[in-house]
C-alpha cells in the first residue's frame, strides 16, 4: 500500500526559500502570486494492507521523525 504525506511549515514560521522562489516567479512575470511556501512530500510504500492501520503507522512516523511539530504540520493525503 502506498501512502503519501505532505509536510508544510506552520503559518508563523519564516520560509526564506519560499520567499526567494516567490521573488523569482515575480521576476519571471508571474505577478499574481501572493505568497509561496515550500514543503516536503513523501511516498511511503508499506507492507501493511489495512488502510486504517497503515495510516496510523504513517501518522506515528510523522510525529516521531518526518515532521518537527514545533515548526511543521503534516497531512496524510491518500492511501491506495
Amino acid at each position: 500500500m502506498k501512502i503519501s504525506v505532505i509536510i508544510t511549515l506552520k503559518k508563523d514560521v519564516l520560509d526564506p526559500q519560499g520567499k526567494v522562489i516567490h521573488q523569482t516567479l515575480d521576476g519571471m512575470g508571474f505577478n499574481d502570486v501572493d505568497e509561496v511556501r515550500q514543503g516536503k512530500y513523501f511516498e511511503i510504500n508499506t507492507k501493511e494492507n489495512d488502510p486504517k492501520k497503515a495510516k496510523d503507522k504513517v501518522e506515528e512516523m510523522c510525529k516521531k521523525l518526518l515532521a518537527n511539530l514545533v515548526i511543521e504540520n503534516y497531512k496524510i493525503i491518500d492511501a491506495q
Binding site: V13, L14, P16, L65, N68, V70, I71
Partner: protein, 227 residues
C-alpha cells in the same frame, strides 16, 4: 575528568573537539553512533558537522541513532551534555533543549567570528568565567533559532538562554544577529542547566596563533568547574 565525543556519519568537528578537550585535561574517548553503551564519563559532547548529510532536517536522523538513547538517559539523570553546531541541531531534535534551528535568514552559509554575551552564569558551564563576552567562531547554514511564543516565555522565565549574539562590548542588537535567531539566541540550556546547545564553536578558538583564545577560557573554566 572524563569526556566522550560522539561521532556520527558526517560529523567533522569530532576530532577538533577531541584535541580541545585533551588540551584542557579531559581524558576523552570517541564513541561511534552505532554503539549502545556509553563509557563512564562526566561530559558528553555532540560535535559539529553534517550528520547524515543534513537529510530531512539537520540533526533529525542523528537524534534517532542507537547511542542517542543512552545520551538522552544520561542527560535525564543529570549528566552534562554539550551540543555544538550540528550537535545543537541534534539536541533540539531529541527535545532535550526546546526550539528548532531554521535556515539562516538570508539563506547564506555563514562562516566567521562572532561575539556572544554570556546570559546566565548560574550553571556548571559558565560559572566563575572571568568575562561576559566571548569571541567564538560560527560556521552554519541552519542556525536561525526559533521557538513558539509560549516556549520563548518558558525559556526566559527559566533563565534557559545561555548566550546571545552581540558586539565586542556585549551589546545585544539585531545588527549583530548573524542568522535571524529569535532574540539573538546563540545557545540555550535545558531547564535543569545540565544540557547546553550552542551554534558557536569554542573548540576552534584554542590556539593564539590560529585564532583567538576565548575557547581556551571556556574549556579551562569548564574543567575547573568540574574538578
Amino acid at each position: 575528568m572524563k569526556s566522550a565525543v560522539i561521532t556520527f556519519p558526517g560529523s567533522n568537528c569530532d576530532r577538533d573537539m577531541d584535541v580541545a578537550l585533551k588540551q584542557f585535561g579531559f581524558k576523552n574517548k570517541m564513541v561511534w553512533h552505532n554503539d549502545v553503551e556509553l563509557p563512564k564519563t562526566d561530559l558528553i559532547v555532540l560535535p559539529g558537522g553534517f550528520s547524515y548529510g543534513d537529510y530531512l532536517r539537520c540533526g533529525s536522523m542523528a537524534s534517532k541513532s542507537k547511542i542517542m538513547k543512552s545520551v538522552i538517559n544520561f542527560a535525564n539523570s543529570g549528566g552534562m551534555v554539550m551540543g555544538i553546531c550540528n550537535g545543537f541541531q541534534i539536541l533540539v531534535e531529541t527535545g532535550l533543549v526546546p526550539g528548532v534551528l531554521l535556515r539562516n535568514k538570508y539563506l547564506e552559509f555563514i562562516c566567521k567570528n562572532v561575539f556572544v554575551k554570556i546570559k546566565n552564569k548560574k550553571n556548571i558551564f559558565f560559572k566563575n568565567i572571568d568575562t561576559d563576552v566571548l569571541e567564538f567562531h560560527i560556521a552554519h547554514n541552519e542556525g536561525n533559532y526559533f521557538c513558539t511564543k509560549d516556549q520563548l516565555k518558558e525559556i526566559e522565565d527559566n533563565e534557559q538562554v545561555a548566550i546571545n549574539y552581540c558586539d565586542k562590548n556585549g551589546k545585544i542588537e539585531e545588527q549583530f544577529n548573524p542568522n535571524g535567531s529569535i532574540k539573538n539566541i546563540a545557545g540555550i540550556f535545558n531547564k535543569e542547566k545540565n544540557v547546553l546547545g550552542m551554534m558557536p564553536h569554542p573548540e576552534r578558538m584554542i590556539d593564539n596563533f590560529l585564532s583567538g583564545e576565548d575557547g581556551s577560557l571556556f574549556f579551562n573554566n569548564l574543567m575547573n568547574n568540574l574538578k
